[in-house]
């Protein structure tokens, strides 16, 4: 982004988000500890973590922007690019794979017509390619959409859940 553009648009976080960052900082004996929670709050607002937001977090916590970028890029749940409105993860680890996770993921990708980055054309969903074990091995195959888990799925039930989420805009109650 050219510098003039940055100045022209001058992106900023909502004032409530900034207050939240300060509140988070005060919870910890050392301000740096608030980095992960702060990044969550920022990502909840923006949907991803643009460099300018990393700079804001760094400024609030008395760090350098590089410190924040080093942390953000380490954790797989922080996004450096704008994701779809809903984030879909299909666990592919052993317990789920034994019960058909690969077939479920492939079916959902085909049905959602996602591109290489995992985004559906209408911007509703981003399907994450590689997912850590999501800790729902007892209900595999499972998927997590935003913050909610849906277990014991097959392609039909998963499609129905995503259809409902696309229409509602919300995540529903989860499994």
């Amino acid at each position: 982004m050219a510098e003039s553009e940055v100045e022209a648009s001058s992106p900023a976080l909502a004032s409530g988000t900034l207050e939240r960052l300060r509140e988070l900082r005060s919870r910890y004996p050392v301000a740096r500890s608030a980095v992960l929670p702060a990044l969550w709050v920022v990502q909840d607002e923006l949907g991803y973590l643009p460099p300018w937001a990393e700079e804001v977090v760094a400024g609030e916590l008395g760090l350098l922007p590089g410190d924040v970028a080093a942390v953000a890029s380490f954790y797989s749940m922080y996004f450096s690019r704008q994701a779809g409105r809903h984030f879909v993860q299909v666990c592919q680890n052993v317990s789920c794979a034994l019960r058909g996770a690969d077939e479920l993921l492939a079916g959902l990708r085909e049905w959602l017509q996602v591109d290489e980055e995992g985004a559906s054309p209408d911007g509703s969903f981003t399907v994450e390619g590689t997912v850590e074990c999501l800790g729902a091995c007892g209900g595999g195959p499972m998927m997590q959409v935003d913050r909610y888990s849906y277990e014991d799925l097959n392609l039909d039930s998963a499609r129905a859940i995503l259809e409902r989420i696309r229409e509602d805009g919300g995540g529903g109650a989860g499994a």
Partner: protein, 433 residues
Amino acid sequence: MGGAEPVPDGLVLTRYQGAPGLTTLDGYRKVGGYRGLARALEMGPEAIVAEVKASGLRGRGGAAFPTGTKWGFLPQGVFPRYLAVNADESEPGCFKDRVLIEEYPHQLLEGVLIAAFALQASHAFIYIRGEYRKQRELLEAVVREAYRAKLVGKRILGSDFGCEVVVHGGAGAYICGEETALLDSLEGRRGQPRLKPPFPAVKGLYGQPTVVNNVETLSNLPYIVTEGGAAYAALGTEASPGTRLFCVSGHVERPGTFEVPMGRTTFRDLLELAGGVWRGRRFKAMQPGGGSMQVLGPQHLDVPLDFKAVADAGSSLGAGALVVMDETTCMVEVSRRLVDFYRHESCGKCVPCREGTYFESQLMHRLEEGLASAEELASLADICAGMDGRCFCPLGDTATWFVMSAYRMFKEEFDAHVGAGHCPVRASVGAAA
């Protein structure tokens, strides 16, 4: 042996199963919740430590280190001290901590407060993995409720003891389950393991004495404090005291978590609790302990859930998982999947893990697709030998354990993939079906 049905009387972690409203303070108090904390405050720190030692409780995160001994490593008179609660449950096949948080969050918080009092910790940080977002929010609500009820904060239950509890969300990194990586992550850094010594008990969070305990470990404390360490120990055997919450998943009819007495239950009992192998198929293999641990075969089904017995069989109870695989399972594919997992989760700190998991993964993909040569397959043992015991932390070491044990136990299956151009197991299952 025996004891296929968990006796309600013999339950610790899930003893309030079915009681209404357990995620609320009222609901938990109705079943007697927080009596343990009140009792603990009367007992004083030394007496609690003594009960925990008497209980024989060992860490439930995977390393099975005796909890009372771990607490005893804190240097005298050095304050502030911290308690870090490891709720970063990330071991493939494990979901027991999630169940304990979702269904018994106040029991966990009570355990946290008992431990914090025993250790005289000023803060307890519950580090919960990023993927457990809903569970994190539940815990935050539970802690807020407890603050309002003066169960957390200054002068807990009117005593002189105060402790702040902070729920801290991770953001997707398996390695943060390693206790020193968890501390670095909690300090707002890349979650990479630290050089030891110094150990966390001496120099942990912010350079202060710190104890890191697992969710399940701490959830046992209310019972141990109210019923006594001896009563807890008696539920299991002398070598493997107490009960444990096992997660059974994979090719079984009814996957789930089951609290069973240690030492007196076998793998076969667990398999039966989960309804047996699904679809009437035959049992082929199982992975106890989680993604890190070595594969066991049908010959091991009657091994009791005892630390030593499982070690003698060549594996470990680890974090309390059991992944069951039926006769259609390709062991090369399962190995590849686990190797991929470690490649993805390697923090990148040390060479053998960072590069070795990549090397392993490349090889296993080629093998699974039937593209690898015999020479390539032969190099697998070398690659693993360059990693196991050579890495900075156990992640890289354990990235070799399953694949090497599977290679030993199912060598013919691995060999059959060489130059096959496809997966022979899948092909034969397809032909049979």
